[in-house]
Subunit: 310 residues, 2 copies
């Protein structure tokens, strides 16, 4: 560390903040958890504000704002924080639209502030080894199965069903962030089928076809109506072998042989990377996974499925 | 001109090629119309191919490929042309997805070739004067009404209703290309309502709310079920006056007073700009209008309207 710990405020004390952000901030010596913003109660031992603007006005000592609110309200908060001279970390996806993220990125660059658009799955333990494995081979196909029970993993979260909430792409974008991190070439969407529950504004299922410039076929299946244990699997065929990442990147097998299995520590990884950005003043804003999702909505064929009720 | 005229082939002899591209190429001294690619007949006096690959193999003398095919098939053709060392001009929108355009842009840069993503409405006669008018004032609001009868303007064109065909955004993106050209700040989508005919895969109506970083409200109404004369209007309130562009940018009024009215010569403008790029080896690939459309699909609320029949 090149200085005293960074004073960080966490905005939005929902499931992801409590499960991941607060524990990582508490574990890492780079940070001091300094305040929170939440309309439904705070965290013991630190000052809580009900509005971000109040925090920005009252606490000029807080240098870093970590935004864990839903994507639909993230832009205005990120803009306010940057305009108040604070560095900003964005939960994934970095915004509800590509335009928002581009706007924030320009603003951060103008003001010389750090903006970090996080993709937590890129910090899964098998990502680095998988990237190295692929780099040494000739990949010929990819299959992604990202299937979970939304009732278990997003209990009562209504924003995921509202426009801009992404629906099944909220977990699925994790797979896309991982794939685009391990792949040696750019990846583009070719076609998509999106299944919207009749009574909802976002899809519960999506099937995507992706390609790289070499034409490698990539089949992607996202399903939020999946019962039983979740599948967070990514398989790559290359040079006669098959790599399988499972558990969202916690486990790596080659031809069924276990190569690596480690507990996830993604958010520690994110906050360590962010500390590096803060120390050097660099920005990291990669919209590629969100661009693939936007392209899926732009060109996808919509079908309607049975109504979904929580 | 710094050299002999550029030998250009036109791919896709549909309505836009016959109405605009071929006449502009014939009028301008920068070009020689050298060949066409079409599966349904060619143009008298030049060689016609039924496949682009056949042209690329048989006619290495043709330096420039102008693609007038629907966006859903443009990427593969653009890629093939660039890989064969040809400069490429893309009709709008430059691709079916943002990922495609980014991919083509990278490829053109790698190969040192010219790629021009055209936005013909940016060459309407009132665009330059409107931009200058806004730059000297404080704009406070924008209203766009882009309404036409699809049966009259796109007779029998089925691709516009297929995924990736954009529906009413096919004409509407012209308004967005004009707005983003005259506006002094970046523009982002805030919300969208998209009306899909029950039996079609793309919207026939769209209402958008856009903003710039200063918060200027921008209301956009696209309607393809509009009967009677088309409305292609863009209004800007600024410093107590109202600018109105009508006829897709052929006419400019301020507070009802006519400032400018000229016949359109958009495609001559495009091909002149392209000649400048070809002479200098520069690229011009601005995806902003397509990004706003993608953001509208990504976050828009979909409603269903009566079935549409041609």
């Amino acid at each position: 560390m090149s200085k005293e710990p960074w004073k960080v405020a966490v905005v939005g004390l929902g499931k992801i903040a409590n499960d991941q952000h607060l524990p990582s901030i508490a574990r890492l010596p780079d940070y001091t958890f300094a305040a929170s913003v939440s309309r439904s109660g705070g965290v013991e031992g630190v000052e809580n504000f009900t509005e971000l603007d109040a925090l920005l006005a009252a606490r000029p000592d807080i240098e870093v704002i970590s935004l864990c609110v839903p994507p639909q309200v993230r832009y205005e908060m990120a803009r306010a924080a940057l305009e108040a001279g604070r560095h900003v970390m964005l939960e994934k996806p970095p915004g509800a639209t590509l335009g928002e993220v581009e706007d924030l990125s320009s603003l951060a660059a103008e003001r010389g502030l750090v903006l970090y658009a996080t993709w937590h799955s890129r910090h899964a333990p098998a990502v680095g080894p998988a990237k190295a494995w692929i780099a040494e081979r000739s990949p010929s196909a990819v299959r992604i199965n990202w299937k979970e029970d939304v009732r278990e993993w997003h209990p009562g979260q209504q924003w995921i069903w509202e426009p801009g909430g992404l629906g099944v792409f909220d977990p699925g974008i994790n797979a896309l962030s991982m794939l685009t991190a391990i792949w040696p070439m750019p990846i583009r969407l070719v076609s998509a089928e999106l299944g919207f529950p009749e009574n909802r504004a976002t899809p519960i299922r999506a099937d995507l076809a992706l390609r790289d410039p070499a034409g490698t076929p990539m089949e992607v299946a996202f399903d939020w109506a999946h019962e039983g244990p979740p599948l967070w699997d990514l398989e790559v065929d290359a040079s006669g072998e098959t790599l399988k990442l499972s558990g969202g990147g916690k486990r790596m097998e080659v031809d069924g042989r276990l190569v690596l299995e480690e507990p996830e520590a993604e958010y520690d990884g994110l906050y360590r990377e962010f500390a590096g950005l803060l120390d050097t003043g660099a920005r990291n804003v990669d919209v590629t996974p969100l661009r693939i999702v936007a392209d899926a909505f732009l060109t996808g064929r919509i079908t309607h499925t049975a109504p979904f009720h929580d």
